[in-house]
Structures are given as C-alpha cells and as structure tokens.
Point group: C2
Chain length 267, copies 2
C-alpha cells in the first residue's frame, strides 16, 4: 500500500508544510520507501517530480522541501511496491494530456485480475495496475466526450458523472483510493482510506504528526484563502480531519468539496 497527498486551493499555495511530514512516511515514520513523486499544476500545465529513491532520503524531495512552488492543485504519492518493481516508470503520479490539459493521477491500493480493454489512446508505460486504471479513466473520458478544445471542454459536473461509475467498476477489482486532477478540480475516490481537511479563515496553528513541526497558517494566509488537503491519514494531530466514507467519490474545487457521489457537497 502507498500513501497519497493532495491539495486543492482557491489561491496558489505552497505545500511545504504538509510535504515535510508526508515525505517522512517515505522510509522514516512509515515503510513506503519504494519511490515517490509530486506534481504541481500551473494553469493547465503540470510539472511532475519523481524519484525512485525513498522520499525521506531523496535529493529531489530535498528540493521540494526548500523550493516553494505555489499551485492550485498538487498530487503527491509515496510508494510501497506491491505490483511492479522499484523503477522510475512505476512511480506515481502519472501524467497524460487530454483536451490540451495535463491530467495527473495517483493511486493507493491493489487491483487484482484487472485487465481493462484499452483502445490505444492512453497506454501504460510502466507495469502497475494503477497506471492501467488511469489509462482506463482517460480513455473513458475521451470516448464519452470526443475531441474537445479549450473552448468546449466538459464541465466539472459532466466529468464527475462519467468518472464515478468507472471508479466504482475499478474498485470492484480491489482497493481504489485515488486522486486525479486536470488543474481545474481534484477528483477523488475512496474505497477504504482517505481523509481531508478544509482550512479557511480564521486560520489556526497546526502541528505535524510525523515530525515536530508547527505552522501558524494565520501568518501566511489572507482572509480569502481556502485550502483543502487530502491524505491517506491525517497529517496533523491538532486539527479535525474528515474521514471519507468508503465508496465515496468527492470532487474538490477552489479549496472545498463541491460534489459528493454526484450531489452538491455540504462543507
């Protein structure tokens, strides 16, 4: 099993505080030492940093800890290899282009006997069941909506409607906790384990679970900022995180949940 971290905000925000604790789980406070990765959106483009070395010991992770990259949407993953070797091609997040947008995906869980029929528009580069699932999600979107330009891309609600049944179908093959973003919204599915928190004014202090680090969010935010953080397990021990109910499909936009299993989400 692996660990997921996602962030969705209404203003470009850096993820250094959360990543500091999260990266510790890659070999120090937890056993997920088989590579890791993080992707930052800037508009429709994303830059993805991956490394086969444990996050707790990776020069690339060291860069991320020290270089504040501000983004509306971030997806990170640390890997405990179960299917596929420790190789770069098996490190999440995975990235593909559809409709002139980068799409970024990371998955926690194992899928058994999962051999979806792919039509060739999106094929896995590595050997993981996760990348297969990502290709199936994108192929389904492409089949449903066809060729779209930036001027007529489907809406968040339209995308939600197509993704939900595919995610349920994939979850039938095992555990499918996942984060997916195109830079506009963060689509998430929980089959077993995922928690989130929405931070907004009035901001408070927060203290990490995985190391002795504290931040006063009030000092680094404005009244209008709103940030949703999603993780496999809570990253802080003095805030109230909301666990996902199993088999929930939750969409975040502008730093808060907007659709829960297809219905307008209440904060």
């Amino acid at each position: 099993m692996c660990q997921l971290l996602g962030m969705n905000c209404n203003t470009p925000t850096d993820i250094q505080f959360s990543f500091e604790g999260f990266a510790k789980r890659g070999g120090l406070t937890d056993e997920h030492a088989d590579g890791w990765g993080i992707a930052f959106f800037e508009g429709s483009a994303a830059r993805c940093f991956i490394d086969h070395r444990p996050a707790s010991d990776s020069p690339v992770a060291e860069l991320i800890r020290n270089y504040p990259i501000r983004s509306y949407n971030v997806i990170s993953h640390i890997r405990k290899a179960t299917v596929g070797q420790v190789k770069l091609q098996n490190c999440h997040p995975f990235i593909r282009e559809l409709w002139g947008q980068a799409w970024v995906f990371a998955h926690n869980g194992d899928l058994k006997n999962f051999h979806p029929k792919l039509q060739g528009d999106f094929l896995p580069i590595g050997e993981t069941d996760s990348e297969l699932a990502f290709c199936l999600l994108l192929q389904t979107l492409k089949n449903e909506f066809g060729y779209r330009t930036p001027a007529n891309r489907p809406s968040v609600a339209e995308i939600d409607k197509v993704l939900r049944p595919v995610c349920e179908q994939i979850a039938g093959f095992g555990t499918f906790n996942m984060l997916l973003s195109n830079g506009q919204a963060m689509y998430t599915h929980c089959s077993t384990k995922l928690e989130y928190i929405v931070r907004a004014h009035p901001f408070k202090n927060a203290h990490l679970v995985d190391c002795d680090l504290q931040v006063d969010f009030g000092a680094v935010t404005t009244h209008n900022d709103r940030v949703a953080v999603i993780a496999t397990t809570a990253l802080t021990n003095d805030e109230v995180w909301t666990p996902f109910e199993p088999h929930t499909f939750l969409v975040f936009e502008d730093g808060c949940p907007v659709l829960k299993n297809g219905q307008r989400a209440a904060l």
Copy 2:
C-alpha cells in the same frame, strides 16, 4: 531563439559536465533566461524537470548539477521567449505518451503562420509553435502506424521514414532545429544550427566553453562506452564538433549517428 542540448549513449551516462556549461547560457553567458527544462529517460519512461526561472539561477538546475542521473537519452532546452509568455506551460521539453512510451521534444527556432490541423490525439497545453509542431509529429506517427503495443512498435528506420517529410514540411514555416526521443533513439532535425560530437575510447580531456571546468572522460568511462552529445553550439573548446548541414535529419542510437537523411550514416 533558444538553445538545445541532447545526449544519446550506449550506457547510462550522467550529463552533469555538459549541463554545467549549458546552464550558464541560461542567463549568464547568453541571454536565454526565460525558463528551461531537462528530461531523462529510464527505459520507456522519462522524468522531466522544468522551471520558469533562468537556468543559471534555478533551484531545480542546482539539483540537476548535483544529482547524477544516469540515462541513455537526455534532452534539455533553455528558452528565450519569442512566441508565448514566460510560463511553465511554455517551457520545453514537452512530453507525451505514444505506444506506451514517453516521447520528449525540444525545439529551437520560430515558425511563422504555422497552424497545422490537429485531430485531437495530441493537443498543445501551452501557446508555443514548438508544442504545435510536436503534436503534429506525434499525430502523424499515430495516423501512420495506428495502435501499437510494446510487442509491435515500428522500428527506428520506419519512424525515421515517417518523421523526415513532416520535419521538412514544418521547416517550411521557419527555423526548425529539434531533438525528439522515445528513449530508444534520438531523432534530430537541423534547419540552421546544430552540432554534435561522439565520444568513445580513447577518451580525452575536455574543457567547457561557458566556464572554466575540465573533465578527464578517460577516468569516468570504460572502453566500451560511447556517448553522442548534440548542442546548438559546441559546449567544449578543445574537441572537434561536427556541424550539421542545414536541412539534415540525423538519427542517433547507442551513442552514434545511424541514419542521415534516410541513409546509413558514416561516423
């Protein structure tokens, strides 16, 4: 105009020496200060580091200078913005997946009135003519060869045959010096300016043009190593680089040129 750097080898090699000089051109010894990027292949997967800050001053470039990533194929680019703003989405190299392989592309030159008809399998995320050209190259490959799996991908010679006329067609719109790789071979087109060198046993010393740094390749290589380095202009001042003739399409594999304008290349 921008600057290109490529490396194609028969053994995984790090690019630190060449990158040290090349990165200086991003704001110090030359004016290409509008972002930069570098992609390293490992098998069919590639990891791509891009930054909108000048290469001479980028924390990500600092990482690359200090973290030896060994690769068979590397493509790097430093940008002087002419078309498209200084934004992450306009930084080369660009990356897409086709036939379960990452494809990486970088371009030097401007294309005027270039509006190719794209069918939607590969669409630009940013605003550059370069990314449009990349999408056209991949769409042409996909149209020609259809759905291919790792077991029946086209050969280097077959790919060469399809890419050459498209590159000539694109070069009709302006300057089209480019590097393209799928991790197996490095496809290059020169319309005005590109030079290369093949380093093999017996290896010698080399001294950079852009800073006072020297390396003894003999001390860090074996007798069997072979490395081709391709750049907009020579990176060293005590080796003999071979300038490309204008309108040359040259393919490198295992560290040496193998096809020149469709004919077997002589070393």
